[in-house]
């Protein structure tokens, strides 16, 4: 069941944040896709925009979203907590979601998960000490024929091997040095 814990607003600063002008342009374009009075339909996509910009979905940002859509904050929290892609607590710069469902499992996803745990020195659910990587598991990512699979920042990494995992980690480390 979707029983992800959301930290109560008392442990997270709940003052609405101010979204950048670019974010607002994107958000308004999404709202404009739906008929008058149906702007709540934009909610999930707006949460994706929030998470892409902040790395996670904080209570403060969700409160801003509620203001923009003119709905109650709880309507945003209940949606964000239902869908597994939204991180309700801070995560590393790069979140690895490694698929572990049957078709991936039978071609070795367990080994891949164990290897990443060892390589990054984290357990599933944890974030590396330098805040760079978070390791999570995911249920079927819709790429079973190219298994084992992980997803990071909406990108699919397929046919995983230990060597490939090494390369991916190196590439993300290098990318974060550039930024």
């Amino acid at each position: 069941m979707h029983n992800m814990k959301i930290e109560s607003p008392s442990t997270q600063d709940s003052t609405p944040v101010v979204f950048s002008a670019e974010m607002m342009t994107e958000i308004n374009a999404v709202i404009a896709m739906f008929p008058e009075g149906k702007s709540k339909s934009a909610l999930i996509r707006i949460l994706h925009i929030v998470q892409t910009n902040y790395g996670w979905t904080s209570v403060a940002a969700m409160n801003t979203v509620a203001e923009i859509l003119n709905i109650q904050p709880i309507e945003v929290y209940e949606v964000a907590s239902f869908y597994t892609m939204f991180h309700l607590n801070p995560v590393g710069n790069y979140v690895f979601e490694v698929c572990r469902t049957g078709p991936c499992m039978i071609v070795g996803s367990d080994d891949i998960i164990a290897y990443i745990e060892e390589k990054l020195n984290v357990k599933v659910g944890g974030t590396t000490a330098d805040g760079m990587f978070t390791l999570k598991t995911a249920e079927c990512l819709g790429a079973c024929g190219y298994a084992p699979v992980l997803q990071c920042k909406y990108k699919f990494h397929e046919h995983l091997t230990k060597e490939k995992v090494d390369e991916i980690i190196e590439a993300y480390r290098a990318a974060s040095l550039v930024n």
């Binding site: 069941m1 979707h2 029983n3 896709m33 739906f34 008929p35 149906k38 709540k40 339909s41 934009a42 909610l43 999930i44 996509r45 949460l47 994706h48 209940e78 949606v79 964000a80 239902f82 869908y83 597994t84 892609m85 939204f86 572990r100 469902t101 049957g102 078709p103 499992m105 039978i106 071609v107 367990d110 080994d111 998960i113 164990a114 995911a138 249920e139 079927c140 990512l141 819709g142 790429a143 079973c144 024929g145 190219y146 298994a147 997803q151 909406y154 990108k155 699919f156």
Partner: protein, 451 residues
């Protein structure tokens, strides 16, 4: 000889993802034909004649579904494309949308015209965000070329297409949960009736169809429903995309003519080319994780000894005792080294994770099955646990709001039916059960209490 391809024949043409190349290769002909030469009802009629059945899993006749759509005056109607594709083992819609996005857009236009929808939606799982961008680009191109917007091709017909993402939830593939999600809510399935055809998106009449179903409307309109129905056997007409995964030499997405034999599909040169690493076939789940698993001797042959074919009827031959289902075409193959208990456990965990939690038999039952399978898999189980699983199954089956409950129960029942000795082995050989598997060998807290 590989069979005819009606959907992904052109995927290898360079640039086919662009409007121009797609159009030059015959794309959008169905829109021209339908909007200029046919009435909406005539399009529906062709789809009926084609015998097309929903490719999302349930196999409901599409033409019939379309004709159920309520048409009250002054109320908008909607077509919603189900691109949630989350059933373990299924990844064909992703392939189609990524490689040949205009085929879906074309199908959406022709189908929306048939249904009288002036705005249609494509709901795509959030993990496929990159495909959402591919589709939006294709939509913009189609609009720039007069295939979308006002007065398409001078026909007086208006249509807008909108793509909306989910956020990671298998249940949103169930059509009423999908509609809730599209309305910006949690994906809790609705009670039926009313069916979406009467009260769907925002309370308006709505048809929900799978990506592949909508794409198949294109060749049906182009060539006529009767031509389409000539392919296949019995009530399994046309072609079907199969997602092949697991221990195969060549996993991937294949378009088959309905009626190809399962043997040919697994071993044939045009298809999966056999079991990887020279191993033998142990089992197969032919239609996505929700359908019963078949042991090797029932994969290529039915219990009566007939060749098993890739059709709705043949895969279901023998009922749940010795058959399975075509489902969504998620064809998962297991070699001799695979542990059925472990696989069943991953699926139980999947369903427990994905249950929306609205009805207690599903919410609690899937959780129990996950826990019981976890302890069996890791050598902490007892023989009573196997019976317990069967009992939980019966309590879930048929007692829930949506079919996810059944989808979770059936695979467990089938695995025990065909591989009972493997479950028993996990009880009689606890030490081996622990060492031959990876990770997770620590008992859960509640298992420690029970030990």
């Amino acid at each position: 000889m590989a069979g005819r391809k009606l959907l992904i024949e052109n995927v290898h043409i360079p640039g086919i993802e662009t409007f121009d190349v797609y159009r030059k290769n015959g794309g959008y002909a169905s829109v021209e034909k339908a909007l200029k030469k046919m009435t909406p009802d005539e399009v529906v009629e062709e789809v009926k004649k084609s015998g097309l059945r929903g490719r999302g899993g349930a196999g409901f006749p599409t033409g019939m579904k379309w004709s159920f759509l309520a048409k009250p005056e002054g109320v908008p109607r909607y077509l919603v494309c189900n691109a949630d594709e989350s059933e373990p083992g299924t990844f064909k819609d992703r392939y189609l949308m990524e490689k040949i996005p205009h085929l879906l857009i074309e199908g959406m236009i022709t189908s929306s015209y048939a249904l009288g929808a002036n705005v249609s939606y494509i709901y795509i799982r959030g993990e496929f965000m990159y495909i959402l961008h591919i589709l939006e680009k294709a939509i913009a191109e189609a609009r720039a070329n007069g295939m979308l917007g006002k007065n398409i091709l001078g026909s007086g017909y208006d249509l807008d297409l909108v793509v909306a993402p989910g956020g990671g939830a298998y249940i949103c593939g169930e059509e009423t949960a999908l509609l809730e999600s599209l309305e910006g809510k949690r994906g809790n399935p609705r009670m039926k009736p009313p069916f979406p055809a009467v009260k769907g998106l925002w309370g308006c009449p709505t048809v929900v169809n799978n990506v592949e179903t909508i794409a198949a409307v294109v060749p049906i309109v182009n060539n006529g429903g009767e031509e389409y129905a000539k392919i296949g056997i019995e009530r399994s007409t046309g072609t079907k995309l199969i997602s092949a995964s697991g221990n195969l030499v060549r996993p991937g997405v294949y378009e088959i003519e309905m009626g190809v034999s399962v043997e040919e599909f697994i071993y044939g040169d045009d298809y999966c080319r056999g079991i990887a690493n020279g191993k033998r076939l142990k089992a197969c789940i032919p239609g996505g994780s929700s359908v019963p698993i078949l042991p090797a001797h029932l994969v290529t042959k039915t219990a009566a000894g007939e060749n098993r074919l890739m059709t709705y009827e043949s895969l279901a031959d023998g009922g749940f005792a010795s058959g399975s289902m075509l489902g969504s075409g998620g064809f998962i193959v297991f070699d001799e080294d695979q542990c059925i208990v472990r696989n069943t456990y991953t699926f139980a965990r999947f369903y427990a994770h994905e249950s929306c939690g609205q009805c207690s038999p599903c919410r609690e039952g899937t959780g129990w099955m996950e826990k019981v399978l976890h302890r069996l898999e890791n050598g902490h189980g007892t023989m009573e646990d196997i019976t317990l699983l069967e009992e939980i199954n019966k309590k879930i089956e048929g007692n829930t709001i949506c079919p996810l409950g059944d989808a979770a129960a059936w695979p467990v029942a089938a695995a025990i039916r065909h591989f009972r000795e493997e479950f028993e082995w996990h009880v009689t050989h606890p030490a081996e059960a622990q060492t031959r598997n990876y990770g997770l060998i620590q008992p859960r807290v509640e298992e420690i209490k029970a030990l």
